[in-house]
């Protein structure tokens, strides 16, 4: 046995190295190459090309729009997602599995269909059109519908992150807090919320990234009106059609940079949560 101790491990190492190389190549080609390509194309005219397009009003507007959408959008899935997660993790009721499956619907359904559904409900002749029109609220081809479809698409992120954490936590710490004189609200705020905060932030960061990058549903409901309902992704689409490549790549690069920042945040939150669950 000890005469040829390296024979099998050496082959194992080789296979392991091969698998590692394959994985890294895959990541490099599919993920890194496009990013490098965008950076390269956007900046090939030299760094001085950057300020020009970014000073244009329509581009500034297009970059600012998704920030508003994300800001409004993220609060709703964060709060309601937390409530749904609490119900799914803690309560038992008839049809719970169905609810749990429906929550994932936005993952499965194409955003274009989500946009179409919003048009059916709020567009011309839609079920709720008369109600909002009578109050002078423009839903379709305006910010409300863009926020609405983005919220729909972001629903599962917080829920899917928070439910497993809540399930692992159980209710014992909350019970302990109650016997020590805490009200249900105090127990939630002082015990449960801190214990799930990183999972919650992780879910929120994922939703933000998704909200910033959303295009399909927004394309359908916004009408992509320049300087009004045009988001950064929609601008990139238009820029490429109008052969304004440099400006398009620059906006894409800005979007990618924001996403990388969000990604860094996500990594931090994920680590903190993993560390705290170990306790």
């Amino acid at each position: 046995m000890s005469t040829r101790p390296t024979a099998v491990p050496a082959r194992g190492r080789l296979i392991r190295a091969g698998v590692l190389a394959l994985g890294l190549t895959y990541v490099a080609i599919l993920l890194l190459a496009p990013i490098v390509g965008i950076v390269w194309t956007a900046l090939k005219g030299g760094p001085h090309v950057v300020p020009g397009p970014l000073e244009r009003a329509d581009i500034q507007h297009a970059l600012f729009r998704p920030v508003i959408i994300a800001a409004v959008t993220v609060g709703v899935p964060a709060v309601l997602g937390m409530v749904v997660a609490l119900v799914l993790a803690r309560d038992r009721f008839f049809g719970k599995r169905i609810v749990s499956a429906i929550v994932d619907l936005p993952f499965a359904v194409s955003p274009v269909i989500v946009g179409l559904a919003a048009v059916v409900l709020f567009g011309r002749g839609g079920w709720f059109e008369a109600f909002f029109a009578a109050r002078g609220i423009q839903v379709i081809f305006a910010l409300p519908s863009m926020i609405l479809v983005t919220i729909f698409i972001c629903i599962p992120f917080v829920i899917r992150e928070v439910v497993p954490v809540l399930e692992e936590l159980g209710t014992e710490e909350e019970d302990a807090a109650r016997t020590l004189g805490a009200s249900p609200m105090q127990a939630f705020i002082r015990i449960t919320l801190p214990n799930m905060r990183w999972a919650l932030l992780y879910g929120v960061a994922l939703s933000t990234a998704r909200a910033l990058g959303e295009i399909g549903a927004v394309l359908i409901v916004s009408g992509a009106i320049q300087g009004q309902t045009e988001t950064a992704t929609l601008y990139v689409l238009r820029a490429l059609e109008e052969r304004q490549d440099a400006a398009g790549y620059l906006v894409a690069l800005t979007l990618a940079a924001v996403s990388v920042l969000v990604l860094l945040g996500i990594e931090v939150f994920k680590r903190r949560q993993a560390k705290e669950m170990g306790r």
Binding site: E172, E173, D175, A176, A177, T179, G181, A182, R190, N195
Partner: protein
């Protein structure tokens, strides 16, 4: 009313499972009362209903003469110690112990003094800044106890407090809890499945089985005067021997034990005998009978013997080795059963079998 805890007619169902059935008992002020039973006997559910963590379907709860049945846990002010500690993992030891004081908005100085006092009491004064994951199991449970005691609860409820610890730490903490209780004298209700723990710590033991109280009494009552076959079988590992009643004795084949005075002749009955109540001799006497020895294991200070009666029933005996000095295994061996408890019905699983046999 000097009663610490009184529960009356508690009932609790979980779906179709009747977890607790008509449970009533009292826990005397200033003493430790143990709720003893196998897992699933409903003892933890009773404790959680006293704490207000579960709502009883029917029945009432009083603590120190004050009715608690409809109060929320935070109104009851009872200390609760959980089997898995339930420490707040994101808070330090100090913040954990201070929690009960800070939610009641006690002044900061008072909180600090009380936490120091309690950590001193549980022997963890140097651990204030640590997080629960930096402590051993025994230390965690001591922090949990300090946390429960900090708001000066009227009674202390302990749910299998040593259940998650290894055997050595268990024993150590048991002794320590005993001393702590002597010092503080806080009325305590201890849920446990470990009969040694119950008998050692408690002034009063309530044995539960399948959601019902089987027997309540002093450790001496429970151990020496079991009221039901279940108690006889659960408290102290028992041998169960089946025989028939004849002239106030229980007969197994041609052997017999005394103690069936309350049963009619000709009926079937069961004798419960603890392994250490089996005495071995070489002399045949009035109430001793011959056995064959299947197996003998020497554990140092005592021997464990597997004996077979003439009718084939097996009896386990644990005999101190010095008592075996005068016994020769080369000659016929007889046993003498002391403190046999005879019941007309068998253990939970046996009645069906007994019914079949009597048809």
């Amino acid at each position: 009313m000097s009663q610490g805890i009184v529960v009356e007619g508690l009932d609790k169902r979980f779906g179709s499972f009747n977890a607790v059935r008509n449970v009533s008992f009292q826990a005397v002020d200033g003493e430790i009362t143990a709720l003893l039973g196998p897992s699933g006997s409903g003892k933890s559910t009773v404790l959680r209903m006293i704490a207000g963590l579960e709502r009883p379907d029917t029945g009432r709860v009083w603590v120190q003469g004050e009715e608690q049945t409809w109060k929320t846990p935070q109104e009851r002010r009872l200390g609760f110690v959980f089997q898995h500690y339930a420490l707040f993992r994101h808070l330090t030891v100090r913040e954990n112990v201070a929690f009960g004081l800070s939610v009641r908005r006690a002044p900061r100085e008072e909180q600090r003094a009380r936490v120091d006092e309690l950590l001193e009491l549980v022997g963890l004064a140097g651990f204030t800044g640590r997080y629960p994951d930096q402590l051993s199991g025994g230390q965690r449970q001591r922090v949990a106890l300090a946390r429960a005691l900090a708001p000066r609860p009227r009674v202390l409820l302990l749910d299998e407090p040593f259940g998650a610890l290894d055997a050595r730490v268990r024993l150590e903490l048991r002794r320590w809890l005993d001393e702590l209780h002597r010092e503080l004298g806080v009325t305590s209700l201890l849920v446990t499945h470990d009969q040694d723990e119950a008998l050692e710590l408690a002034n009063q033991v309530i044995v539960m089985h399948q959601g019902e109280v089987e027997q309540a009494g002093t450790p001496d009552d429970i151990y020496n005067r079991p009221g039901t076959p279940f108690v006889a079988g659960f408290v102290g590992a028992s041998n169960v021997l089946r025989g028939s009643v004849w002239e106030r004795h229980l007969h197994f084949g041609r052997s017999a034990v005394a103690g069936a005075y309350h049963l009619d002749d000709g009926g079937e009955a069961y004798a419960y005998v603890r392994p250490h109540d089996v005495r071995l001799t070489n002399q045949a006497g009035d109430l001793s009978f011959p056995v064959t020895i299947d197996r003998r294991t020497n554990l140092g200070w005592m021997s464990k013997l597997t004996l077979r009666l003439q009718d084939g029933q097996v009896l386990v005996a644990e005999v101190p080795n010095e008592d075996l000095d005068g016994v020769s295994f080369a000659r016929p061996v007889f046993v003498d059963l002391r403190h046999a408890k005879v019941f007309g019905t068998g253990p939970a699983a046996a009645p069906a079998e007994a019914e079949l046999a009597s048809v």
